[in-house]
Symmetry: C2
């Protein structure tokens, strides 16, 4: 058996084409262009090249992109001030705070200064908490609108587009990061998977990974997941991305694994391009929520009248995209 | 082998005695009595008897208790108004919103109107999100202060007091509720357990429960967990509580299981009394955070200067109680 390749490059192109259509409908209806702002402090080279990629992707789908960079010696107060400025700017619908931040700035303080309604990469704890508290997908929605980090959302979307069953399946996640592993576990649980989260102290790891119908790896350790750790026919979502010799590789030893697994997301070209597509989708959703509601700060805590609206009127755009 | 009984009644008495001492130190130092407010809408009999129990427990540890009841035909706006009044009342340190609420009131709208800094039962999504984003226990703390729901916190405390290892152990949670199953999984993960969450679609359930060193059941289905579903020597935390004939029973068929398991929390007298004790501890923690900071609303979102303080100055009382 040779594993099916879950072609994130191809699928993401298709999704971006869908989003481009939706963004132009949005623009015609609301006379506004969905706009994503990237904020960073300092010029970390990886952040700069990531920003360029996001800018290109925005261009492809007809969205506006803006970059805001503070000098690397900026204070936490300055970073928070810039964040608030972006919150208050009605023409900005989505905000991403690029990390790492320089020493001396508490990342969480800046993240929590972000308006949760603009937090299109699901970094704010209010969004994490609503995801954690969200009911199973077939229950009536019981939390306000929220955003899921783009990377795990892209993984789930890849499973959906290849019609890989999740309900009732065993899923194993290797690596419990805040932006991928943990939200991925909550997403898969919400879709009725039975999810196990493994970490560095899990022993023996292979005994657990071999139980997985859906194996998710998020470690950045090249070829950590070997063929003998995989249940025959399982689907492997690979979120690793590391340099090995002259090649980019994932967590999976794909060459050997493809004879065992039923499906594999390749590296590169698997979960990576899906992240970009989901970021665009979340930005469009943010723009829709904001213009429909006619206010910013739709998810602001302790603002129960808005929250209450959120539970009713805002359900439509949230539901269009069932996370 | 006969399982050790994890005597929540005895342990909770000991914890309440500790809290009583701490509360009197607090009172002497700050000239204020830690105060818990219970809010409900209507007179659901279970809520009324729960309130009486909490009132008694507050009395035992020298804390003040206040009950606020709206008529069962109260509107969501009235419930939110009362919640805000409690937020603004400096003499109230902790708030619990009793559920269920009457139809026509969105529970989440009232929950999210609560000041997260007073949310001593960890119901607000900001608290759920900070727990979800919290690092492993041995990492430097990287999120603001938060509250964990009292019931799972009591389960963890029971494990700790009986020195049952968690790090590197397999934990299986049957039932993914927002107030018990999900936060319990995040708590145990944070303590380096490898955690699997099972739901109604998990099949076969026994195959997974038998892998658990720590088996947690949160279903309310009497005797769902039978002896043959338990790994020899495992610890079983039973969060079930249901009427069977003339007795209160848990999820576990304890009579048969005690020959297999290494430890069992009995029902009644196991996880139940621990919940009360943790509620008192969270209320005391809330009072400490509020008086130390000299302001209310310590965890309010988009208030980065406070959040920033939270990451530094407020760490001490948060750390004293390592969740």
């Amino acid at each position: 058996m040779t594993a099916k390749i879950l072609d994130g490059s191809a699928v993401s192109k298709q999704i971006l084409a869908e989003i481009k259509d939706q963004a132009s409908v949005f623009e015609a209806e609301w006379k506004a262009v969905p706009t994503l702002a990237l904020m960073r402090v300092g010029d970390d080279p990886a952040s700069v090249s990531y920003a360029k990629m996001i800018e290109r992707t925005c261009g492809k789908v007809g969205m506006d992109f803006r970059s805001y960079t503070l000098p690397s010696d900026a204070s936490e107060a300055e970073a928070v001030r810039l964040m608030r400025k972006l919150n208050d700017d009605d023409s900005v619908h989505g905000i991403i705070l690029q990390q790492p931040l320089p020493e001396g700035i508490h990342a969480e303080a800046v993240v929590e200064a972000m308006d949760p309604a603009k937090d299109v990469d699901g970094a704010h704890p209010l969004n994490a908490g609503r995801l954690a508290r969200a009911a199973f997908v077939d229950s009536p929605q019981n939390v306000g609108p929220y955003f899921v980090p783009a990377t795990p959302l892209g993984g789930l979307e890849l499973l959906k587009r290849y019609a890989i069953p999740v309900d009732g399946q065993r899923a194993v996640i290797v690596g419990a990061s805040n932006l991928i592993g943990k939200p991925m576990s909550l997403l898969l649980s919400r879709h009725w998977a039975t999810v196990t989260v493994c970490d560095l102290h899990t022993k023996p790891l292979a005994e657990i990974t071999k139980q997985a119908d859906i194996l998710v790896s998020v470690t950045g350790v090249p070829h950590l997941i070997t063929a003998d750790m995989i249940k025959p026919g399982a689907t492997v979502l690979d979120f690793g991305f590391a340099r090995l010799g002259d090649k980019w590789v994932g967590d999976l030893d794909a060459e050997a694994a493809k004879e065992i697994a039923g499906g594999i997301s390749p590296v590169p070209g698997g979960t990576g391009p899906m992240t970009n597509a989901m970021l665009m989708r979340n930005t469009l959703t943010a723009a829709e929520r904001q213009v429909r509601l006619g206010v910013k700060a739709a998810s602001r805590v302790s603002s129960a009248s808005l929250t209450s609206v959120g539970l009713g009127d805002m359900q439509q755009p949230a539901d269009r995209i069932m996370q």
